[in-house]
């Protein structure tokens, strides 16, 4: 490799710090989105569950309802803790991926590199799992299948990332622009179709659950994750663009 690391290249620690910061901001904004648009749907879903359990077991059983471990208000505050911590963790993983993959992304622009990584993550970690296993509001799932659902979910996240990787590898084998595009789509679709076919279908939503509430919940859940990854990519891109003042030799070498 003809280019050597100049003193202007930030260390992994510096990039990691930016990732954690971008992740915190992204997580809190995603939390704000989820609080504003998602919480009313969570409340509505819980009300549906409570109405159903009241109808099933009338009278004395209402006294048997246990005191919740965390109140609804506590859970609404906990929402920000959840999205904040989740954002920080994803930001740290994102910065690590950026550090390790930056030199393999064929763009001279750090900002564009950050955006493409965030876009790839949004597609692989959010988009692909979302279509196979659309998220459900509380009070819908069957606790008995939680292990199977968790393993299937993690498997589809991995498959989503493999699909993005396959698209990149496939397009790099092709000489012309349109063939690269076609190869990328083909590599992506092949992996996704195999993954969707191999993993089990899960449909646990009771037919009595209001479908409009289910879909508006699912859309806000998608929105929350889109906000998280979009802000993470934009904030990290802004932070890496602001930092190392490029030395003249580095620019010349580029």
């Amino acid at each position: 490799m003809p280019l050597s690391t100049g003193p202007s290249a930030p260390t992994y620690g510096a990039l990691l710090l930016r990732g954690l910061l971008a992740g915190l901001v992204a997580g809190l904004l995603a939390g704000l989105f989820a609080f504003t648009f998602g919480e009313p749907k969570v409340d509505a879903a819980i009300a549906v569950e409570e109405a159903a359990s009241q109808a099933a077991l009338p009278a004395e059983s209402s006294a048997a309802q246990e005191e919740p471990l965390v109140s609804r208000d506590g859970q609404k505050g906990g929402l920000f803790l959840a999205t904040g911590l989740y954002g920080i963790a994803l930001g740290g993983i994102f910065a690590t991926g950026y550090t390790l993959l930056r030199r393999r992304l064929r763009t001279p622009s750090d900002v564009r590199a950050a955006w493409s990584l965030a876009g790839a993550a949004l597609l692989g970690i959010v988009g692909i799992p979302y279509v196979k296993y659309p998220p459900n509001p509380p009070a819908v799932g069957d606790p008995g299948t939680i292990n199977q659902r968790t393993i299937s979910y993690l498997a589809i996240v991995v498959i989503g990332l493999v699909a993005v990787w396959a698209a990149v590898v496939a397009q790099r084998t092709q000489p012309t622009e349109w063939r690269r595009g076609a190869a990328a789509v083909l590599g992506f679709v092949v992996v996704v179709v195999i993954g969707y076919a191999l993993l089990p279908n899960i449909n646990e939503v009771p037919s009595t659950f209001p479908p409009d509430l289910l879909w508006s919940f699912r859309l806000t859940s998608l929105g929350t994750q889109v906000v998280l990854w979009t802000v993470l990519g934009l904030a990290f891109g802004a932070l890496v663009a602001r930092t190392p003042a490029p030395r003249p030799e580095t620019v010349a070498a580029a």
Binding site: L3, A9, G78, P129
Partner: protein
């Protein structure tokens, strides 16, 4: 397969064995946090169900499978 990189900017450190090990440790720590937020059922952690319940709305709105 990526051959020689054509990226012009050198805005990241060169990937060395030491960097890889550090990165691995960081990712493991981040995955632990992710586990606590998104997958902990209260059986493994010593928090019981408290953390699970506290972050329950976030878990559902982040699209992770739950009860």
């Amino acid at each position: 397969m990526p051959k020689a990189t054509t990226a012009g900017s050198l805005s990241t450190p060169a990937v060395s064995a030491r960097l890889l090990w550090t990165a691995l440790a960081v990712v493991a720590l981040m995955l632990l946090v992710t586990y606590l937020v998104a997958f902990d059922q209260g059986a493994v952690s010593r928090s019981g169900m408290y953390l699970h319940e506290l972050m329950h709305d976030g878990r559902h709105l982040l699209g992770v499978p739950c009860h």
